[in-house]
């Protein structure tokens, strides 16, 4: 188990018990990503989630998968998840309609260090489908804006067509207390924004390296290179946080499917401090 890592969240509920939820809304974000909004089917008390945590979502008859919570922690009456349709379960989930039922276990895992980040400049670095797990942290920071220094969102995607939450990004961009940088890996002539990988945005972001904290989510290679670039700008590894993705099954560190070196990603993560995981990143055997 990781010592002094991000804070874990405890719940009295039986973690193996699945609760029925109704699909309230399903919105297509891009050609292969969607946001699903869920409400409990029974009058049960929902366990409050913290930014960074995930739920196990069960499509009946097909299977259960871990998906990060991407909703506002200030609104605990509904669960919001954004994911990409890549496997049998997510492809079936994308076809669900309002009123369909789904099973939910959770929330599980460690949370983003929004308390530890108070008083600091914040860098939120997202790559591709890495934005949804970071959105709850951004919601929290924006709703407690005075508690933080400069806040920057750095977001990279494959093409302009793959940008998630476009309307929300437009609103965030209009704010005077938030810097939003977006880049795409490739674009045709009509795109007027940045082109280049997300790491190229890091030198452009305004932050004091001695008093900043970064939260990074994306493919592991992207997180590794982002951490290198952040360190090049003077940020120390103990102020860089990442969220890992592995084959989570039980959600409570029993089954061992998500074991990564000495940690269980579902229980000790998914949010980790980079200095505690940087050796794991470069071990091919893991």
């Amino acid at each position: 188990m990781v010592q002094n890592g991000p804070e874990r969240v405890h719940s009295d509920k039986d973690p193996m018990l699945t609760y029925p939820y109704y699909v309230q809304r399903l919105r297509h974000e891009t050609h292969d990503t969607f946001t699903i909004e869920l409400r409990p089917a029974r009058a049960v008390e929902m366990t409050p989630f913290s930014p960074g945590q995930f739920n196990m979502l069960y499509v009946f008859g097909l299977g259960e998968i871990p998906i990060s919570i991407s909703g506002d922690p200030g609104n605990q009456e509904r669960l919001i998840h954004t994911t990409r349709a890549v496997g049998a379960v997510t492809k079936a989930m994308m076809k669900l309609k309002r009123g369909n039922m789904i099973g939910v276990r959770g929330p599980f895992g460690t949370k983003w260090p929004v308390k530890e980040a108070m008083g600091r400049d914040i860098l939120i670095v997202a790559g591709g489908i890495g934005l949804p797990p970071l959105r709850p942290a951004l919601y929290h920071i924006l709703s407690h804006r005075k508690d933080y220094g400069k806040v920057s969102l750095l977001y990279g995607t494959r093409t302009p067509e793959d940008i998630l939450y476009i309307k929300e990004l437009e609103k965030w961009r209009a704010r005077l207390d938030l810097e939003v940088f977006i880049t795409v890996d490739r674009a045709k002539g009509d795109w007027r924004g940045n082109v280049g990988v997300v790491t190229t945005l890091i030198p452009k972001a305004p932050f004091d390296p001695d008093n900043a904290l970064a939260m990074v989510v994306g493919p592991e290679v992207m997180m590794r290179f982002s951490a290198l670039e952040l360190q090049k700008r003077g940020l120390t590894a103990d102020r860089i946080y990442i969220s890992m993705e592995r084959n989570m099954k039980c959600g409570v560190g029993l089954c061992g499917h998500c074991q990564l070196g000495g940690v269980f990603v579902c229980k000790d993560g998914p949010v980790f401090r980079f200095d505690q995981m940087k050796d794991v990143f470069t071990k091919r055997e893991l």
Partner: protein, 151 residues
Amino acid sequence: MQTLEPLLASHPFLKNLNPEHVKLLVGCATNKVFNPGEFLSQEGEDADLFYFIRDGKVVVEIYSPEHGPITIQTLDGGEILGWSWLVPPYRWRFDARALETTRAIVMDGKCIRQKCENDHSLGYEMMKRFAEIIADRVEATRLQLLDLYGK
């Protein structure tokens, strides 16, 4: 008379450069504003220049008959455009176009090459700084090639 020396010295590329070297570079520099759509470089043409971008946005692109202009990279204030002036046969490999009104210091590559030949300490400084830029861009290009966000 006001010269471009303070503007050059304040560009991140030349941070902490020996002031004597900055003075040498000033003789090869002119200040210019590019309107949106105006080309800073065109593929195949002589690359006798490079640019310290002061502010604005420049798009580096390659033209394909099938797809039209494809953007490879964008550059903002504080960045640098062009290293073809350093490497024979000194021809631009890509098009570069101002996406918005862009202010840049235009450097005469032939002039700089001559000054670097005459003063190897300046030449070594320029090479070190360009090597860092080139290494960063190669790394970024490799990450782009990985298509990290694909399925």
